[in-house]
Symmetry: C2
Subunit: 376 residues, 2 copies
């Protein structure tokens, strides 16, 4: 269980293809996980997700702990049963949300006290609590509880890294279930020395997989790429690497090229609910007037349900009229695009054409239209 079979490693880039085995199915990597924050990938049924070819779904520990509660989900058979998704699920640790969403958090070496963004009630997460919640939720892949400092502050990152490392060891010790894989999270902001230290320390603890956290939160693309290279040259080749919260088409290609195996991001689903489509060449605001009478599909050549059946004119009408179906169709399109890109990259890695694929993709892509999820 939780073995990672490395099937191909490109020679001229760090890109690789593999299979990560979980009790709920094999993940063919590189893989993108749509985000189902509150135990639902917003606007999609599990049947639609399956049709799109999704294999891994992420849910958020912080949100599910607050509502409907991890013990309720445990009592109803766990997250797979609760949300009707029988494929692999990944839960984060709640760390990032505690630092980004909650009010008046207070950090000490033992954990974090925070107030719910829903009702202001006071709660406390420790590494042990995060693992207990994640065990109640019952995902296949768990994350160690970590601290997420601003990426550009070296002193804060240095100090936070000690806590994150101590918490990672406590998470490992707290874990009781053998049917879940706990990943350690490499932190260290944009600082090669901290990232290197973090990758080495966590590798020493011996996790079945490693996440790279604290990126796509304000640093430049070059800084992000440099950190991926530093970290992925240290992390063991025979374990999967998960870049947290990253998921524009451009960033997926850059990440795969630098050896990342797993991605997640709210980008495709959030953009869709805001009326925007991701494409292979950029981004389209479907509210724009020129689409009003445009008989073409959202993205020409796309095989998704939205593009196979509807015009830009119709999708624009739905978005302008604030119809739920607009969010549904654009979510299908956006998720389909990212999953298709991942399948194409995997195939290109396996048949030795990845470098050309990536270069060609990035040439066609208008990076000025894009940004990472944190800028949305």
């Amino acid at each position: 269980m939780f073995e990672f079979d490395l099937l191909a490693q490109t020679s001229s880039t760090r890109a690789r293809a593999g299979v990560f085995h979980t009790l709920h199915g094999d993940l063919l990597t590189p893989v993108f996980a749509p985000v189902g924050t509150a135990a639902t990938v917003k606007a999609l049924t599990p049947a639609q997700l399956r049709e799109l070819g999704a294999t891994l779904v992420l849910s958020n520990t912080y949100h599910l702990y607050l509502r409907p509660g991890d013990e309720l989900i445990r009592d109803l058979g766990g997250l797979h049963s609760f949300m009707g998704w029988d494929g692999p699920i990944l839960t984060d640790s709640g760390g990032f949300q505690v630092f980004s969403l909650s009010d008046t958090r207070k950090i000490d070496d033992d954990g974090v006290t925070f107030k719910s963004h829903i009702d202001g009630s006071t709660h406390r997460f420790t590494p042990e609590k995060s693992i207990a919640i994640q065990e109640n939720l019952g995902a296949d892949i768990l994350m160690a509880f970590d601290e997420c400092p601003p990426p550009l502050d070296h002193d804060y990152n240095r100090e936070a890294l000690d806590r994150t490392h101590a918490w990672a060891a406590r998470c490992l010790a707290a874990k009781t279930r053998s049917d879940q894989a706990l990943f350690g999270i490499v932190q260290g902001g944009v600082f090669p020395d901290l990232r290197e230290a973090s990758a080495r320390y966590l590798t020493g603890l011996g996790f079945p997989g490693y996440a790279i956290g604290g990126l796509a939160v304000g640093e430049t693309k070059d800084q992000m790429h440099a950190m991926l290279e530093v970290v992925n040259d240290i992390l063991p080749a025979d374990k999967p690497r998960y870049l947290m919260g990253v998921g524009s088409p451009e960033d997926l290609v850059h990440g795969v090229r630098r050896g990342v195996d797993i991605f997640d991001c709210v980008l495709p689903t959030r953009l869709a609910r805001n009326g925007a489509a991701l494409t292979r060449t950029g981004r389209m605001n479907m509210k724009n007037a020129p689409y009003a009478r445009d008989p073409r599909p959202v993205e020409e050549g796309c095989m998704c349900y939205c593009c196979a059946n509807f015009t830009r004119a119709y999708v624009r009408h739905l978005v302008v009229s604030d119809e739920i179906l607009g969010a549904v169709l654009l979510t299908q399109h956006n998720v389909h695009l990212l999953l298709t890109l991942m399948r194409e990259m995997r195939a290109a890695i396996l048949d030795g054409t990845f470098e050309g694929y990536a270069e060609n993709f990035l040439l066609n892509y208008n990076s000025r239209q894009l940004s990472t999820a944190s800028n949305l």
Copy 2:
């Protein structure tokens, strides 16, 4: 085209089963049409609608005229193509919406001037304009432009009826397409004399089908039932009868029992978006606390996607968290229930067991939990 084959007529009630032929497929009657006001049955894809067994969809002329515009829809190939629904479509005349939704309407014998509820712009509908719009939209079944007075005001209904009748004749004269069936609309409030006169007058004009309008808008159930009996005893047996805007489970059974063939209502879709489920015994507010840990499906025994895959606890979580999937799943359940009821009633009519079916259904049904759509 537009022939109505009457396959069975019950002896002890007015219930009957038939087939109405349109260019986009046969309607097996009695039939319920989910409402797709703005060219989308809210929260459902056409694929999901098809899976639910929907055959007929209603769209609203008033809404589509205002946004995105009937000429735009015509230029994009008509409503079937625009919304991706290749089955039969029915459009209303815009009459009801002009009287219920728009601001500062002014009625004269020629037509109605009104202001858009979207942007306050001034527009004018006449019988000829309504038909021109409906021909641009391109539905299979069109409605004559009518006036919809308050049901309890005899003098107003008497006066409005003359206009509605004159307008019906003008709609017939204005119609140019042979691939669309124009239905006349019987009005007359809760007054048997007016309803009788209206049914006789419109029958004389010779429509391929007849609608019964102005009900479920404030009268009692007994008044509605009495009007259905008066009208359906006059309307020709070999033409379909459509009761507009009616669609609680109870009202569907009462309507079928009184000889109605076609129904439409926003009830199942609107209730779903408000977090409520229709069932065979009443209505459930899925936000209610007792459902928080309820492992049962929304309606036990139901075969819909929602009930086959999810618990009340999960649906409640979605509704409480304001997740789109809550609306999607409850819409599927509610529409599935009404379509299933219609299929069951049709089968019971055909095999001679309808009377028992209807009595049994109404006995089990808690009518106190219910009301017609207008009370929502």
